[in-house]
């Protein structure tokens, strides 16, 4: 409803403004070009954010100071705290970082955004930047038309910077011409009343433009030609900082609960910082004068002094809020609760798949891998219980002979029921989400995604085979024929060993150990081939089992073989870190059937 009234009203006001003042038209065009430049810049940086994203994030956000530094650096380079916020929500949604790390990045982004004011006040107003804009636009647009992703990305960045420069030029020219007709400064004033009025205007302008950076550039250009007073410019800058949280809140709408919590943290941080700045305005202004005198900024250079003010009040905000990050996390977790966990539904659903992670192919891929691991965890439990074993015993160091003796339950579990509640829904969501994510991915990423989809199918097949195997496992568990009982116990021990090894692989980080253990499970898988190793022939020849038992054993050993084969294939895809060096070598290094045969021959020799 509000949107229906808001947008036409803004358009009417702008149209009226353009009609009565050509200078206003020039300023507005400058803002529009500037915003278009930011969109282009964001597009360019997105082209470079895939692939090693997860690795960089893990290394640069494992400690709070690193998260803050990462936020600062990313915003300084990309010149958009909104983009950094939206990307952080995307990282959170994919489970790549935790809430505390996300808050650290957002805090850092707030300091990083102050570099924009320095660049415009120190460089943008002193040189004729429109002269740089033209070649950038030409080169940028030529590169945008190229097919290569990296060239396209560079093109968007160049064109983005060109539009930013051009926008600043038009804003500056517009304000200079405006000065000769209307003196906007005469509408301003000093005192608490004007402080609140101009803070409100700053918030409103940022909400409309969806960019605090654009508001700040507008403030600096207006200040440079004396269209607003220094005091009012400071209030506008405070407003711009508060208004920018709206962009993050809109970005979090499509995110999961963690994204909403981050947007909440952003709002609390910026409002608190704004309040501190308003309450201690005179003290901060004194600090600005002191810093300006120390670094040699002239007392009447108000644009640079505004940049100093912007930096000081954001740094104060971070310094004040950092000790409370832990409490902030608790507060947000208690107030913004996950509805899906509140509803006591017995159907398990996807945890990492939401629209916010679709922002980048890297986060989408990471979210799908994590969701596949979630599916694996559920399948691991179902298979364990299907074999009537306890999960905690399998993942312990208990001898496998003892593991199979300790039953999970006296009656057989209903695998179909488990499948419907804990596998089917998530599997469907993963396949559906993968199709959505695929449309924005590069061919090499689509190939990786295809392999992940295969891993999901392997997991589901393993669960289905367990269902077939379960029937005879129960039947022959306490059979009076010791020979058939022995064979089924051996199948159980073999599968318990496989599950234990796959669990170990899932927790390993050392590449050499992963490779060796994967090879080991492949060799051990051959034990199920009871036709090849002569076990079945031996049992039949000596009349130790009936024909019915022989048929069951042959079928069930095939099911056990398939469970192992599917789980190993899945482990090769999802437990070797997608960004590790090993991933590029895995296909050449991991054992094939021929290698397994040679090891087995060596063993028999």
């Amino acid at each position: 409803m509000l949107r229906k009234i808001f947008l036409p009203s803004i358009l009417i006001v702008l149209a009226y403004g353009f009609w009565i003042s050509p200078d206003f038209k020039e300023i507005s065009a400058g803002v529009a070009i500037f915003l278009f430049g930011m969109i282009s810049l964001e597009e360019g940086f997105k082209a470079f954010s895939g692939g090693t994203l997860e690795k960089v994030l893990q290394k640069s956000t494992d400690k709070l100071y690193k998260s803050i530094g990462f936020g600062m650096l990313a915003t300084t380079i990309m010149q958009s705290s909104s983009l950094v916020s939206v990307l952080t929500i995307s990282f959170l949604g994919a489970g790549l970082i935790g809430l505390a790390q996300g808050i650290g990045i957002v805090f850092g982004a707030n300091i990083g955004t102050t570099t924009g004011a320095w660049l415009v006040a120190g460089f943008g107003l002193k040189v004729k930047i429109s002269a740089y804009a033209m070649p950038m636009l030409v080169f940028g647009v030529i590169l945008i038309f190229q097919k290569a992703k990296s060239l396209k990305g560079i093109g968007y960045i160049l064109a983005g910077l060109g539009f930013l420069f051009l926008g600043i030029h038009y804003m500056k020219d517009g304000f200079e011409a405006f000065k000769s007709t209307i003196d906007l400064a005469s509408f301003g004033g000093t005192g608490l009343k004007y402080l609140f009025i101009f803070t409100g205007i700053g918030i409103f302008a940022t909400v409309v433009m969806q960019s605090s950076h654009a508001t700040l550039v507008l403030i600096i250009t207006a200040l440079s030609v004396g269209q607003i007073s220094y005091e009012n410019a400071l209030a506008l800058a405070i407003g711009a900082n508060v208004g920018t949280t709206i962009t993050a809140i809109i970005g979090s709408m499509s995110s999961n609960i963690i994204g909403k919590r981050l947007a909440g943290a952003h709002l609390i941080f910026n409002v608190t910082t704004g309040l501190i700045a308003i309450v201690f305005m005179s003290q901060i202004m004194y600090s600005v004068d002191f810093v300006s005198n120390t670094v040699g900024i002239a007392s009447d250079n108000y644009t640079l002094k505004l940049a100093v003010f912007h930096t000081i009040f954001n740094v104060i905000g971070v310094a004040v809020m950092v000790p409370f990050i832990g409490r902030l996390v608790v507060l947000l977790e208690n107030t913004l609760k996950d509805k899906s966990t509140e509803e006591t539904t017995s159907f398990d659903t996807a945890q990492y798949l939401n629209d916010s992670v679709l922002e980048l192919s890297g986060t989408a891929m990471a979210a799908i891998v994590r969701e596949t691991k979630h599916l694996y965890t559920n399948a691991f439990e179902i298979i364990t219980h299907g074999l009537n074993l306890k999960r905690e015993n399998i993942i312990s160091t208990m001898p496998l002979e003892d593991v199979v003796k300790k039953a999970y339950s006296k009656s057989a579990i209903d695998i179909d029921d488990f499948y419907n509640h804990r596998i089917k829904g998530i599997y469907g969501e993963i396949i559906d989400f993968s199709t959505k994510a695929q449309s924005q991915m590069a061919p090499e990423d689509i190939e990786s995604l295809y392999k992940i989809k295969l891993a999901n199918r392997d997991i589901v097949e393993a669960v289905k085979d367990t269902k077939h195997l379960q029937k005879n496992l129960i039947k022959y568990e306490n059979n009076s024929n010791i020979h058939i009982k022995e064979q089924y116990d051996s199948i159980k021990i073999g599968l318990a060993e496989l599950l234990r090894n796959i669990d170990l692989i899932s927790k390993m980080t050392e590449e050499d150990k992963i490779i060796v253990l994967l090879s080991k499970v492949k060799v051990h898988m051959q034990r199920y081939d009871i036709l090849a190793n002569g076990t079945l022939d031996n049992l039949i020849r000596h009349d130790l089992i009936s024909n019915e038992m022989a048929t069951s054993l042959m079928n069930d050993s095939a099911y056990a073989y398939n469970i192992s084969k599917n789980f190993i294939a899945m482990a090769e895809i999802i437990f070797i870190d997608i960004n590790s060096d090993l991933k590029s070598l895995s296909e050449d290094m991991i054992m094939n059937d021929e290698d397994v045969d040679s090891i087995l021959r060596e063993k028999d020799a």
């Binding site: 050499d512 060796v516 090879s519 060096d581 070598l585 050449d588 290094m589 040679s598 063993k603």
Partner: protein, 93 residues
């Protein structure tokens, strides 16, 4: 000259393909080092103190590691010979 050929020429002159191969070589060398040191440790295990099952497991692990080392060395040789060919071709031009 088409844009594709231009990009290929730039990649070749800047050695970007070699950069990728060098990364792969570094990874395989590191992996081989780890596997070899693991083999050394296993070879030093006093076999007399092990029971039959443990001896069998040790033998199997050593066989797997030896095979992995062999595979790794083969990949490394292939990468080295490819680099050599590229360097010769560049010199020939």
């Amino acid at each position: 000259m088409g844009i594709k050929k231009f990009i290929e020429n730039v990649k070749e002159s800047l050695g970007l393909d070699e950069f990728e191969k060098a990364g792969k070589k570094k990874s395989i060398k590191r992996l081989l080092e780890k596997l070899k040191s693991r083999k050394e440790i296993l070879n030093k295990v006093p076999k007399k103190k092990l029971d039959k099952k443990e001896k069998k497991e040790l033998k199997e692990e050593l066989a797997i590691i030896s095979l992995q080392i062999k595979k790794g060395e083969k990949i490394l040789d292939e990468l080295n010979s490819k680099s050599l060919k590229t360097t010769k071709n560049q010199k020939g031009k």
